[in-house]
């Protein structure tokens, strides 16, 4: 009987230690993420923003930080960073998901509202990052673009990229496929030195 009790206690200890190790693992993980999100180890040049504070000197565009948005809005394509469009664009887009660029992307009301809230809060007009500010400067006050790829800022940055590398390239198909050319797209990295166009190799101009 005593033997059995002792055995149980050893099992209990092992479970406890296991649990503590698991939770420490999770902590370390989220620490990593934070650093990733706010750290400035990725960007090499900041171009336009010479007077930015350290806080603002993050990645060119803030990385996606909402799980629901990521799951729901990356099923058919890359999860675009909310910092690429103004809040009014996201609001308009979220109100017509049943005809989303010719696709049906309908959502239940709860998810729709939650995602819209996230997008509005992290839109280009709410972010200090370089690409967000350049984007806002290029869009007229009364314009509500729905496509990132049709904003003046985007078109200025991509006018040197010919159709044979995009539309007529079966591995790219459309400018909407950011991640097919920008290797670091998911981490908010869109610098020209990290561009590799499938079938054409590294971008050099």
């Amino acid at each position: 009987m005593k033997q059995k009790l002792k055995c149980n206690r050893i099992w209990g200890m092992m479970l406890l230690v296991g649990c503590i190790m698991l939770s420490m693992g999770t902590l370390a993980w989220s620490d990593d993420d934070e650093w990733f999100e706010h750290g400035n180890k990725h960007e090499s040049e900041y171009g336009e923003g010479k007077h930015e504070s350290a806080w603002q000197r993050t990645t060119g565009v803030a990385v996606v930080s909402n799980k629901l948005y990521k799951t729901e809005c990356s099923a058919c394509h890359f999860a675009y960073q909310p910092g690429f469009l103004p809040a009014r664009s996201w609001v308009k887009m979220m109100s017509s998901l049943d005809d989303h660029f010719g696709e049906n992307a309908e959502l239940d009301a709860t998810s729709r509202t939650a995602i819209e809230q996230y997008l509005r809060g992290h839109a280009a007009d709410r972010q200090p990052n370089r690409f967000s500010r350049s984007m806002m400067r290029s869009i007229g006050k009364r314009e509500t673009p729905l496509r990132i790829s049709q904003t003046p800022y985007f078109q200025r940055k991509h006018h040197e990229v010919p159709a044979r590398m995009v539309k007529n390239n079966p591995k790219v198909r459309s400018f909407a496929n950011c991640a097919s050319c920008h290797q670091g797209a998911a981490k908010g990295q869109f610098d020209e030195d990290a561009v590799r166009i499938p079938g054409f190799g590294n971008w050099e101009d």
């Binding site: 058919c76 010719g102 696709e103 239940d108 591995k171 496929n177």
Partner: protein, 133 residues
Amino acid sequence: MKKYFWLIPVLLFGGQAQAGESVVQALTGQYQQHGAGLADAAHGKEIWQQQHMQKKLKKRVSCASCHGADLRRSGEHLRTGKRIEPMAPSVNQERLSDPKKIEKWFLRNCKWTWGRECTTQEKADILAFLQSL
């Protein structure tokens, strides 16, 4: 006390494999309460491949247009080219394990591909077809 320890791994890993089947069973039950008869996998296969005119795209499409001809392998979104993980639950355990997700995509994909919502019978047949793969 100790004789129940074997339950831990069983609960942790066993639940996963069973989940898909019971979700399909429960959904099929609901469809049958709303007018569907017995689920017919062969009919499910047939309508899965049936071509319909997609008005906005001006092309004929079917469920296979994105999910691919071999459902044990990955497909590709017709317009964006994004990879779609295999549909067969036998190779992709995440498939058919979440009723909300299944209903969401039935709604979107039936409307987009066929121009209308699927009937409860069609949904029961398609689930039976996918489950059989």
